[in-house]
């Protein structure tokens, strides 16, 4: 078969898209590769020589480790609160038709269309105004704020096609509303809730701008990187970033595999 203009254009587009994917992975490659670097000074920014030391001692930088632990704690707590509040909103919005739902829907989107710097600085003025010392609790409050909308919209999108008449069927068969919820509704919307919780955990652990305004003297992982980048950039930062990457890829793979298995069963 001789190449015709159509197939050239077709392959051209595929190559262009592939280059786009490569572009997305260039800095990721750098991060993983430089976790094996033996930097000469305090900045792990130019390649010196290969070493496994950073991986053997990922927690040798105490401040970095503490900030990482702090981030994990904050992300866990804020995700639990936000997932609860957001899922309730999502159930209300998708399960019922009621007066005012359009307006409340719009209100829910607003925090996501507000620049982070406005969210962060406005919340900080609230805390300043009320003489609240900024720290661990205020960071959790700040994170829940942007996670709630995110969870609500994600869960709502996931349960959009849900067949609510199943609830009716269960109740017709004599199940109490409580039993119906735990036996029918909850198991069916659980995958959507878990997906939303995972993503909002990732949002929390990586949040920088809003956290910077509301952390006071608290150091989270991103805040530590930001603060110390003036004086040092340890290779352990790359190690921990790689660990987060691998963990999230693993979780995503589990999700994909599960959905494939479900499709095969269906």
């Amino acid at each position: 078969m001789s190449p015709n203009p159509g197939s050239v254009a077709r392959w051209g587009l595929n190559v262009y898209a592939a280059l786009g994917l490569v572009y997305l992975f260039i800095p990721i490659g750098w991060i993983v590769w430089f976790s094996f670097n033996q930097p000469k000074g305090r900045f792990n920014l130019s390649w010196q020589e290969f070493t496994l030391d950073n991986w053997r001692h990922p927690f040798s930088n105490e401040n970095l480790t503490n900030s990482f632990v702090e981030s994990l704690k904050i992300a866990s707590i804020s995700t639990v609160i936000a997932t609860l509040l957001g899922s309730l909103i999502a159930i209300a919005l998708s399960r019922y038709t009621f007066k005012g739902s359009a307006g409340l829907n719009l209100f829910l989107v607003l925090p996501l269309t507000t620049p982070e710097i406005v969210l962060g600085s406005s919340l900080a003025t609230l805390f300043l105004d009320a003489d609240v010392t900024r720290g661990f609790t205020t960071v959790i409050i700040a994170h829940v704020g942007f996670q709630v909308s995110f969870v609500a919209l994600t869960v709502r999108a996931r349960v959009r096609g849900f067949d609510w008449t199943l609830e009716q069927a269960a109740q017709d068969l004599g199940a109490s509303p409580m039993r119906t919820f735990w036996k029918i509704t909850f198991p069916l919307i659980l995958p959507g809730i878990l997906a939303a919780a995972l993503l909002s955990f990732a949002l929390s652990i990586d949040d920088f701008i809003i956290t910077l305004f509301n952390a006071g003297s608290l150091q989270t992982f991103p805040l530590y990187i930001y603060g110390s980048f003036r004086v040092q950039f340890p290779p352990q930062a790359n190690v921990l970033a790689t660990v987060i990457l691998v963990a999230s890829v693993a979780l995503m793979m589990i999700g994909v595999l599960r959905s494939i298995r479900r499709e095969q069963r269906a």
Binding site: K99, T113, S121, G145
Partner: protein, 361 residues
């Protein structure tokens, strides 16, 4: 039961249903307003205690009505009850802060060394924000706009190929688009700093490929350097917000029935025209959502400008951060935040009208 009895009974139920709905919505909105009043400290002292009591009555009253009402009333009140915790959280930690921000932006510092600002309707902060920081505002929106356009140029074809040619690799390819964004935002930007550095690999490739001349004449390189320039900042923004463009475009492309494109081709429409007339219009909601999700965070960003730019490429985010956290001039920072939000809101409204899409999320 005969039909004549059922009918008035049902209308009665509908009417009382509307009544119950009104109570539910009213209690939710009232609680929201009271929470904002308390949070933003519009009411203080004894008045605050009164408002707190009122808030307590609204919430408890709602619960009591739900318990005393029949199952039908409970069903109608249920959504308001489910919404209440999350909505009140947003009222207290999203709406109320915007009010304090507004109040702060109209306050002034009594002296240069004062920390606490006094509210006195000082519009001077807005004048300062618009005159002293005009350059930062302009650059912020220019860079965000350029990055958004680049995101469409890079992201649309990528989303198109995944949606229409991904086949059974679709989910995997989509996963690959998302994966990079599970590493730290700051470290990704630091990675670009190292990659674009004067002794970094990208300059090295450009020199080896003898592309320095063309890159200089395009204005991307300056004196053999890539880093510390406007294009480096725009490149960083493009990179960091690209998935926010790809995902919504993919979602809208994925919904398109391939049969529509085939139909257009069957009717002797050349494939470029089929693309223009069928695929593009149907994917516009995705492009719309993508541009908002890219432009809004990019316009307020300061990390890319800080790590990849120079002192002449600072964006409005850098100035807000500096005035708020370094100079401690919170009134000025608040005014700048407000102007930023106002401009973005107006831009979004105009853009929404222009694009004619109401589906945001």
């Amino acid at each position: 039961m005969t039909a004549t009895v059922v009918e008035p009974d049902q209308t009665q139920r509908v009417r009382s249903g509307r009544h119950v709905e009104r109570i539910g919505l009213g209690a939710l909105l009232a609680a929201g307003v009271l929470v904002v009043l308390l949070g933003a400290r519009v009411v203080t002292g004894p008045l605050a205690i009164l408002v707190s009591a009122l808030l307590f009555v609204t919430i408890v009253g709602f619960i009591v009505i739900a318990i005393l009402g029949g199952p039908e009333a409970r069903r109608q009140l249920a959504p308001y009850g489910l919404l209440k915790p999350g909505m009140l959280w947003l009222a207290l930690f999203y709406l109320a802060p915007l009010f304090t921000l507004l109040k702060q932006s109209l306050s002034s510092l009594p002296s240069r060394f004062a920390v606490e600002a006094e509210f006195n309707w000082s519009f001077g902060n807005y004048a300062d924000a618009l005159t002293d920081f005009r350059g930062q505002f302009t650059r912020g929106f220019q860079y965000a706009g350029a990055a958004t356009i680049l995101c469409v140029v890079i992201g649309y074809p990528l989303a198109y190929v995944i949606a229409f040619r991904g086949g059974r690799w679709k989910n995997l390819l989509l996963g690959l688009v998302v994966v990079p964004f599970f590493t730290s935002y700051l470290i990704r930007t630091i990675a670009w700093q190292s990659l674009l550095a004067d002794n970094g690999p990208i300059i090295d490739w450009i020199e080896r490929a003898k592309l320095t001349g063309p890159m200089e004449s395009l204005g991307i390189m300056d004196n053999g350097r890539l880093l510390d320039s406007a294009w480096a900042v725009i490149g960083g923004l493009t990179y960091n917000f690209l998935p926010f463009m790809i995902l919504p475009i993919y979602v809208s492309l994925e919904k398109i029935n391939p049969a529509l494109v085939d139909a257009a081709k069957d009717l002797y429409s050349p494939s470029t025209r089929a693309f223009r007339r069928v695929v593009v219009p149907l994917s516009l909601p995705g492009v719309f959502a993508g541009t908002l999700l890219t432009f809004i965070p990019a316009a307020g960003d300061f990390i890319n400008a800080e790590y990849l730019g120079n002192p002449n490429t600072t964006m409005i985010g850098n100035s807000i951060q500096d005035q708020f956290l370094v100079q401690s001039n919170t009134p000025l920072a608040a005014a700048m935040s407000f102007v930023l939000m106002a401009i973005i809101t107006v831009a979004v409204l105009v853009y929404t009208k222009f694009m004619g899409t109401e589906e945001l999320a």
